[in-house]
């Protein structure tokens, strides 16, 4: 098994295994072999079990794999279960102080005296506890053939600024590797071999990518309330802003970040700032997104831009707060009371998290309404290999804003009129001198001139235009990505982080003799191309990480004549989606339909 297996590390939350796992991950990447890293962590700061999985895949598959091949056992509490979950042929590296029931003979068990190996490394007991993780790094490297100089390079990059920590960690890695070399008989089949498949690739999490994109979008006002898994998006953004968005002359900030008292205040600040002409954003997750609902309706009706990232986690309610899901799609689409609809971006990669980071502002300002970017915990908080990001080539689009210069040439200004026939009105900003541009913004009934009204016809006129605006947005939003298999009867539709499992599943399906086209939805409202794809394929599988098949429901509603052919493939247990689940889901239906009249 060269370059095609998964390493599963079971540790205790807060035990400092983060550096160890990252070093393994990076060392493999540096050997030219594609990797991905997924962190399965509890809602807890320290003490509960946590797992980190490294997938090594020469084929470049980055999705979670359901099966693990190499296990590192560091947590006494979960040791028995962790070991029991390993299949025949797997390799198990275990701290020899841990008690585990007998392991069947067809598993390869390596017992390592980690505590003893740490003794010569340092006398400091606390440090021993933290650095002991580097022992398994050394052992695993030795067993799997991960080059020690790449481990060193990875350590250096992470700890280069702390020479003492670096030396200590290096010593622990050496101790582990040397001991393994002298004492372990390699019996398992798993090996990493140098390739040249990762040159120029970065490893980054989606939240950092989104934070970076947000900065390059020219954000000026950020308001947020911390919630997993969105916090690291704003925290990384703050880091970038602090470094790169100070006035070169006096070091003052060209932005404002406000940690709000709650998510209602956060979205209020964003709407206030956007109304006054700033590029403003917030990031949250399910519970916070729910709190914002009233203000979203306001933003929709009063037509105020706002960029809101919802890094989805498992609901309902507090749900599984550190587990991934795509459960907010239906909610996002019409989140407020009355008739509301919202544009939604669905990034499927860290690259897209970066790109949507800045494009979201262009779209929200063009469409003059709150716009949501639905990421998820898997995409946002896990490590993804990616091409480096591309600098935004185009200038920004600030949408239809009239300043004094433009107003001077106009006989009149009506905030909610549609002079261009594209259902998008013009807006002015407070501070505009020309009194023609003044208007009063309200969430209550208003006519085209922004005057209060309860007149039925005037109300309907504005509402119909808003509907038309969203209809037009179908083709303004990023188009879906289609991989057409000529003549395929099977079509697969997915979005967001599911993408990675689906592209792997396409290969599995092909191997099983099923030819399938694939469409990745990148936005709501659904583009005509999504409807057409559905019409073109006899059987359409909609892959989602939620219980109710939320995108499938939309699709059935919008392409009602094809409703019967839309079938859900669902996965919502909190773990990132894996290819086998998709393949099995599709095959189950396919086998059932086989022979049936089509």
């Amino acid at each position: 098994m060269v370059n095609d297996f998964s390493i599963h590390v079971a540790t205790v939350n807060g035990s400092g295994s983060q550096t160890a796992n990252n070093v393994l991950l990076r060392a493999i990447l540096q050997m030219g072999v594609p990797v991905s890293g997924k962190n399965l962590f509890p809602s807890n700061i320290a003490g509960l079990p946590t797992w980190f999985t490294i997938r090594v895949s020469e084929a470049g598959y980055l999705a979670r794999r359901a099966r693990n091949d190499v296990l590192v056992v560091m947590n006494p509490e979960t040791a028995a279960g962790d070991v029991a979950a390993m299949g025949p042929g797997s390799a198990i590296v275990i701290n020899d102080t841990l008690e585990v029931p007998d392991v069947p003979a067809d598993r390869f068990v390596y017992r390592v005296p980690m505590g003893k190996l740490m003794e010569p490394v340092t006398t400091d007991v606390k440090l021993r506890r933290l650095v002991v993780n580097m022992i398994y790094v050394g052992v695993v490297a030795q067993l799997l053939g991960i080059e020690l100089q790449e481990i060193d390079r990875a350590l250096q990059a992470q700890l280069g600024r702390k020479p003492r920590a670096l030396a200590l960690n290096q010593a622990a890695v050496r101790a582990g590797a040397q001991w393994a070399d002298a004492n372990l008989q390699k019996a398992d089949p798993y090996r990493v071999e140098r390739r040249d498949l990762t040159a120029g690739r970065i490893l980054i999490d989606g939240n950092s990518a989104a934070g970076l994109g947000t900065m390059f979008g020219g954000v000026t006002v950020v308001s947020w309330y911390p919630i997993t898994p969105s916090s690291s998006l704003v925290e990384s953004l703050i880091g970038f802003l602090e470094r790169f968005r100070r006035d070169p002359k006096d070091g003052r900030r060209t932005y404002a970040v406000v940690q709000a008292e709650d998510e209602i205040a956060a979205i209020g600040m964003v709407l206030g700032a956007s109304w006054a002409g700033a590029r403003a954003m917030t990031a949250t997750s399910g519970p916070g997104f729910s709190l914002m609902a009233e203000f979203f309706g306001y933003g929709y009706y009063a037509e105020i831009p706002a960029v809101v990232w919802d890094v989805q986690r498992v609901g309902p309610s507090t749900g599984l707060p550190t587990r991934t899901a795509q459960g907010d799609l239906a909610f996002a689409w019409s989140i407020s009371h009355g008739d509301t609809q919202f544009p939604v971006l669905l990034p499927g990669s860290v690259h897209e998290c970066f790109e949507f980071g800045y494009r979201a502002f262009d779209l929200a300002e063009r469409l003059q309404c709150p716009l949501f970017v639905l990421s998820d915990l898997d995409l946002g908080m896990n490590n993804w290999m990616s091409e480096p990001f591309v600098y935004p080539e185009q200038a920004w689009d600030r949408g239809k804003v009239l300043g004094d210069a433009e107003l001077a040439g106009l006989a009149k200004f009506e905030r909610y009129a549609d002079p261009d026939g594209d259902a998008i009105p013009y807006r002015t900003l407070p501070g505009t001198k020309d009194w023609k541009g003044t208007y009063f913004t309200r969430g209550s009934g208003h006519d085209e001139a922004a005057r209060y009204t309860e007149n039925p016809a005037a109300y309907v006129k504005v509402m119909e235009r808003l509907k038309q605006k969203m209809a037009n947005a179908r083709e303004l939003m990023p188009a879906p990505e289609v991989r057409e298999a000529q003549g395929a009867e099977v079509g697969i539709i997915a979005y967001g982080s599911s993408h990675w499992a689906v592209i792997e599943a396409l290969d599995q399906l092909a191997a099983a003799g099923v030819k399938a086209s694939y469409l990745r939805v990148r936005a709501l409202p659904l583009a005509a191309a999504v409807h057409d794809f559905t019409r073109r394929h006899a059987r359409v599988y909609v892959v989602e990480q939620n219980r109710d098949g939320q995108l499938g429901d939309r699709l059935r509603a919008e392409v009602s004549e094809c409703a019967a052919r839309v079938r859900p493939v669902l996965h919502y247990m909190g773990l990132p989606l894996d290819a086998q689940t998709v393949t099995d889901g599709v095959l189950a239906h396919e086998r059932a339909t086989e022979g049936a009249p089509r």
């Binding site: 980054i204 999490d205 205040a265 209020g268 206030g272 002409g277």
Partner: protein, 359 residues
Amino acid sequence: MSATTPPPAGQPTNRVGLTRADYDGSRTTLCPGCGHNAITGGIIQAAWEAGLEPHRVAKLSGIGCSSKTPTYFLGHSHGFNAVHGRMPSIATGVHAANRELTLLGVSGDGDTASIGIGQFMHLVRRNVPVVYIVENNGVYGLTKGQFSATADVGSTRKGGEASRLNPIDLCALAIELGCGFVARSFSGDQKQLRPLLKAAFGHRGTAVIDVISPCVTFADHEGSTKSYAAVKEHDAPLHDIEYVPYFEDIAVDYEPGTTRDVTMPDGSRIVLKKLEVDYDPTDADRAWTVIRQARAEGRLITGLLYVNQKTQAFDVERDMVDAPLASLPLETVRPPRAVLDEVMRAYLDGAVAAAAGGG
């Protein structure tokens, strides 16, 4: 109409060349006699006298009869009638985007002390520059007279039901939260309200003015502690107030030793004429004592309760550049390509600790 239109002949103009009518809004739709209407009049007059430029003012409000009033004044200012209780967050965002705007917030006691108490407190805590006017009638006018959180113990609704819970005193709360300008007034006392408003316009930070404003429809009966009759009977001004703007060279002739002066950052002065007692509005402890005593005695203390010009406004604390953030050009807010290259290099080298990775 534009700002450059010459004023009609014969109409007096203020220092920015505007007539009082230029500060009007649309016609009120509130009940005739509602206290809120009088406050609207006070705002119009004070804004005109202070020479606020309408285009530099943003009017903000929540939901309620009181929160409707921004349409009735300063018709040439942009306005934002937000959702219930959430005007403070809107104000914070507007200020963050454009620190050059003068923010005029109008709210009600329900909007502020009930649903919006959290946002109100955090606005004050952040010291966002807003003139925050609470039109306080002790009830929810717009939903037909239910008690708000400022209703006094024993005050009755029209049907006779008495309020049993302790009221929230927004002024005491604001002082506790470090607010640098806290006043209480009465919609029926324009002589006091106007100079307070003008002084508040000049304050750099949150200025809270709690204006008792009787609801003639639901809280003007006997038994209501915020009826016109009750307020007139119990109103106990701390001082007479005169506001001397920096641009007006008027001498206020009071006998020496009978006044206290507060100088504003722009050089304007608040002149407080002593009444029965010599009240020092820079002493927070004193303010609390006076508020507490007045409540115990059923008196309504009005005037400038507390002032502190040394608080740091939100934009200063955030260390924001002078220019409104909303006005910054793309070159300023989109770092150059080299910055992305630098960040990408760090990720390429693994110099950035990846976000995930296990405890």
